[in-house]
């Protein structure tokens, strides 16, 4: 199964790593084109207002300004990633009639340098009619609340409901029922590279966009539709991207403005955001208000769950509809129970839009679910790990209307994390101020849903092999720092039996790489693109195998293997030729037609959600300063089933990064907002944990083999971002007796919670 262990499962450092750490890697803002102009945006200063007039005359008069555009100049076509549901597409690149958050883009300028562009953007005057604004889901859904979008009564843009089993009956039968309310807050993706885009005008009214994105194909399609030009007139090239985490998976107003003004001026136009723009106006993780009611038998069997979530979506849908959908799915992952009801509502407020962020609804749902499991365990008198083992999903379990779990290492993860964390002994030994807690997770390996309504396969790869023994991989797969430029080459190298250094990669250029790819989100890349690559590589191998049969006069019962840059007879490895020689002969036989093959992957007959699910459990150990309320995470232990890890070092990197993000989400990161305005717009005041804050981390791999995954692999990118918050919250409870039902767990809340302060 796990063939070629030198490549699959190895710890191979990132092939792009050296360029990145030495500063040679080119990000979008590093690029310059002759005659390039610099763009700047004029953003709304009010959280909610009607635009009465936009006066650009002063801006246009400034020397060096080459173009100024407002919504009125544009085609005014709304966009959004849910093309299948046009009513959900609620955003305009530049506002026309209304603004709905502080930072909503109203106008754009371009000029010969950045300073002039900023000056011109500031010189634009907007006359507003101010409207009452709302900042929470509770206010937004109250009777008589002002409406952000006329089409969405009650400010609810989307409702998702799931219902199966006899919920009321089972809750009535249950020996133990509890209902809890949880609140989680917004945090920033805080990718290290602020967004940057350059549009270059091309002949025939075409445009090339170099941009920091995780979904180039989606940007291509939506840019074409908002510019009202054919899709094939837009070429999107992804440069190196310094992180995305879900924050770069939509078309953005500056991408539109760059392209629109490039076409008008005939000159390249660049926009680069600042950190302060990102923190003040950028996408963020959804705050949620969650109600969860669960019923158990006295032996700890979970019978039914009633799960209700309101997502604070901010001013527009962004990826909120998908998060609303997935929250319902994540609400019934991990454990088996007979009845489930989910009601998720996506609510508009006058704040910067929330969107996808690492975990896509799961960290929020899991904070509620896993905290509630810990609370129930205590009251049922059952160890929290035992309670989970009683209810845990296993391979072959069916989630109604969702999926059949084709591989599941959840129980093994629970057992392993119990062992490596010293759980049994440490939980018995009660020390004030010190605690151990647990949180678990499951995540999708890519989505089956197709709300973007692509007409193409979900993933594609083109492989060409050459007589010098090398290969070229053309793929739209998007490396935004998570590592597929390395991992996908490992997969191709393993399948073709050639060295990874033999593979040239051409990635993510919508004009040059095969159609199509939905991008980097939902932890889809390794599984989906990996499968497409294997499909292409198998076709290449089928072109090569006849060469051996012909040259060696082989009986057709033989099988051919590809290993160590050689093509060989499996039953008699001495009979072989080099990979390059084999390609040479095949090329001759094809009278010069290159050996190129395309492979594709689209999940089929894999339910409604995902072709495969990862699982895992994490234990956090904390020390709480009972005088200051400060929580220090002293250790973490994680057991993780990501199927076969293609690159162990990359998986460990994901874990470290996820713990860093989890610490921030749980303890220190938050937007400080006042009347729709963000006050902490620098990393000095937005408290992302730093290197010195990282606790030691123990990691245990629980290897399963996922039949749908390439070489048995599943996701490892997002699931790990889920368990840290509930694990820390539980540890804080063990240490202090304070059970946090709201994030973040600040020192002030801890002191109030333990009754030290009122």
């Amino acid at each position: 199964m796990n063939h070629n262990p030198k490549i699959i499962g190895a710890s191979i450092p990132r092939l792009d790593g050296k360029d990145k750490v030495t500063g040679r890697a080119l990000y979008t803002d590093d690029l310059k084109f002759p005659g390039m102009l610099y763009g700047a945006l004029h953003r709304s200063r009010l959280p909610h207002a009607r635009i009465k007039k936009v006066d650009t005359s002063a801006a246009k008069k400034i020397k060096g300004v080459k173009d100024v555009v407002t919504g009125a100049d544009t085609p005014q076509i709304k966009y959004g990633n849910w093309r299948l549901v046009p009513g959900s597409q609620d955003e305009l690149p530049l506002a026309v009639d209304k603004v709905r958050f502080i930072g909503d883009e109203i106008a754009a300028v371009c000029a010969v340098d950045r300073e002039t562009a900023i000056k011109a953007a500031e010189a634009i005057e907007v006359e507003y009619e101010e409207l009452p604004a709302i900042y929470s889901v509770e206010e937004a859904t109250a009777e008589g609340a002002p409406l952000l979008h006329d089409e969405s009564p009650g400010n609810v843009s989307l409702t998702r409901e799931i219902s199966y089993g006899d919920l009321e009956g089972l809750l009535a039968q249950a020996d133990y029922v509890r209902e809890d309310f949880f609140k989680v807050h917004a945090v920033s993706h805080a990718y290290l590279e602020p967004c940057s885009s350059i549009a270059v005008p091309e002949e025939g009214g075409r445009v090339t966009l170099y941009t920091s994105t995780q979904t180039p194909y989606i940007v291509q399609c939506l840019l074409a539709s908002t510019l009202d030009i054919p899709e094939n007139h837009v070429r999107v090239v992804k440069t190196q991207v310094g992180g995305g985490f879900g924050g770069k998976m939509e078309m953005r107003p500056w991408e539109f403005a760059a392209a629109f003004m490039a076409l008008r001026t005939g000159r390249p136009v660049k926009f680069t955001l600042t950190r302060s723009d990102e923190l003040a106006f950028g996408r963020r993780r959804h705050p949620m208000s969650i109600r969860s009611k669960v019923g158990f038998t006295k032996d700890g069997k979970l019978l039914a769950k009633d799960f209700e979530v309101m997502l604070d979506g901010g001013a527009y849908n962004a990826m909120g509809p998908t998060a609303t959908f997935l929250c319902g799915t994540f609400g019934n992952m991990l454990y088996n129970f007979q009845a489930y009801r989910y009601r998720g509502r996506h609510v508009y407020t006058n704040k910067p839009p929330a969107s996808a962020m690492r975990g896509f609804g799961a960290p929020q749902a899991a904070f509620a679910q896993e905290s509630q499991m810990n609370m129930a365990a205590e009251e049922l008198g059952i160890d929290p790990i035992d309670l989970r083992l009683i209810n845990a999903m296993e391979t072959g379990d069916v989630i109604p209307d969702v999926a059949t779990i084709s591989s599941c290492g959840f129980k093994e993860s629970l057992e392993k994390v119990r062992q490596v964390s010293g759980w049994d002994a440490k939980r018995k030994e009660k020390k004030p101020g010190v605690g151990l807690g647990i949180g678990c997770f499951s995540f999708i390996s890519g989505g089956v849903f197709n709300w973007f309504n692509t007409k193409y396969n979900f993933a594609a790869a083109e492989v060409t092999v050459y007589p010098d023994g090398t290969a070229q991989l053309n793929t739209m797969a998007c490396d935004i720092g998570q590592g597929p430029d390395t991992v996908l080459r490992q997969i191709l190298a393993a399948e073709l039996g050639i060295g990874i250094e033999k593979i040239r990669l051409v990635s993510m250029d919508t004009a040059l790489t095969p159609k199509a790819d939905l991008g980097t989100w939902g932890s889809r890349v390794t599984l989906m693109n990996g499968n497409a690559i294997i499909d292409a590589a198998k076709k290449i191998k089928d072109m090569l195998k006849p060469v051996l049969f012909d040259h060696l006069d082989l009986n057709q019962i033989h099988e051919i293997a590809f290993e160590d840059d050689r093509v060989l007879v499996k039953a008699n490895p001495k009979k072989s030729m080099s990979f390059g020689e084999c390609v040479y002969h095949a090329l001759r036989g094809r009278r010069g037609e290159p050996l190129t093959a395309r492979g594709y992957y689209t999940p089929r007959d894999k339910g409604l959600v995902s072709p495969a699910f990862s699982f895992g459990a994490q234990v956090a150990e904390v020390a709480v300063d009972q005088d200051t309320g400060l929580v220090t995470v002293t250790n973490t232990y994680t057991a993780h089933d990501c199927g076969v890890a293609i690159n162990k070092m990359a998986v460990e990197g994901q874990l470290e990064g996820a713990i860093q993000m989890g610490l921030g989400y749980t303890l220190s990161e938050a937007f400080v907002m006042e009347q729709g305005r963000t006050l902490n717009t620098s990393f000095l005041d937005y408290k992302m944990p730093a290197a010195e804050d990282m606790p030691p981390s123990t990691y245990v791999e629980v290897e399963t083999y996922e039949p749908e995954g390439p070489f048995g692999a599943k996701e490892a990118g997002e699931g790990l971002a889920i368990p840290t918050a509930p694990a820390i919250a539980d540890a804080v409870y063990q240490a202090t007796g304070f059970r946090a039902l709201e994030l973040p767990i600040t020192p002030e809340k801890v002191l109030k919670g333990i009754g030290r302060l009122k």
């Binding site: 600042t274 400060l630 303890l667 220190s668 005041d685 730093a690 804050d693 020192p747 002030e748 302060l757």
Partner: protein, 292 residues
């Protein structure tokens, strides 16, 4: 982001520096480590048209002791101060504060003179210097003057330093035998953190090793400038050192604090933390005063 335009001067002596500064008084800023100045200039919070670098002036990056007086050069970096045995022995609170300022990268650049002249309410070196009873030595066109640090700070970012003056040294009395120091910083991060509250304490014991002879407690982030907590010092002097009297001093310090609510924390929490951190800083100082 680019720096706005400015003219750069690098005088070779203190006299020359004062002269250049006098020439452009009001339009010039002094460049030491640049960790605040250059950042503020990039953010367009400041736009001095002249920068007077002290990099060419010799002798400003040394510490010395002479006749009962300790002098700290304003160009000493936080990293050097944090590791200096001389500072640990003669002005220990400063070493403790310097060790937790910013991040390792910032500490190699940031200077004590810059930290003091920037006059931020939570400055990690200013608060310890206040507890050490330091004096700012200002050199200007009319010669030198000395200002007690508690008189030096006027408000956030504001000091009594005249535009043509240069902070040429920080001075303090050499510590009496039986003196120890403590420094406590509270924040959510272990690096790159502006304190929610920070407290520095200096404690001197009588020859009996128990009775408190002198004490100074300085508070950060609870007023427009770093401040002293005179109430805390008052309850300490003459008492036997120990947990209870330190707690009482903490309560007094909390009463001396004037915190406000801002996006970094609430006033009531800060006030409570002044009490906690003061007692801890005093315990830390006591342990050192006893030679532990």
């Amino acid at each position: 982001m680019l720096l706005p335009r400015f003219e750069y001067h690098q005088p070779a002596s203190l006299d020359e520096a004062v002269e250049v500064l006098g020439q452009y008084a009001g339009e010039a800023a002094v460049l030491a480590g640049g960790t605040d100045l250059l950042v503020n200039m990039k953010h367009q919070a400041m736009a001095p048209s002249h920068l007077v670098s002290l990099a060419g002036v010799e002798g400003l990056d040394q510490a010395s002791a002479d006749g009962g007086r300790v002098t700290v050069g304003p160009l000493m970096s936080a990293a050097v101060l944090a590791q200096s045995e001389f500072i640990a022995a003669n002005a220990g609170a400063l070493a403790l504060g310097a060790a937790v300022l910013g991040s390792p990268q910032v500490r190699t650049r940031a200077t004590v003179g810059g930290n003091v002249c920037n006059a931020r309410p939570a400055a990690d070196m200013s608060v310890p210097l206040l507890a050490l009873g330091a004096r700012a030595v200002l050199t200007g066109p009319d010669g030198q003057r000395q200002v007690d640090l508690e008189e030096f700070f006027v408000g956030p970012g504001q000091t009594v330093r005249a535009p043509g003056e240069l902070l040429s040294a920080l001075e303090m009395d050499a510590p009496a035998p039986g003196t120890g120091w403590g420094y406590q910083k509270l924040g959510l991060r272990k690096a790159l953190e502006i304190s929610l509250v920070n407290v520095a304490a200096a404690l001197s014991l009588e020859d009996d090793g128990k009775t408190i002879k002198a004490a100074r407690v300085a508070l950060g982030a609870v007023a427009p400038t770093p401040i002293l907590a005179p109430g805390a010092a008052e309850v300490l002097v003459g008492q036997a050192a120990g947990g209870d009297v330190f707690k009482a001093a903490g309560q007094k310090a909390a009463a001396d604090a004037k915190p406000i609510d801002d996006h970094r924390g609430s006033a009531w929490y800060r006030r409570e933390m002044v009490a906690v951190l003061t007692a801890r800083a005093l315990n830390q100082a006591w342990a050192r005063a006893q030679g532990q």
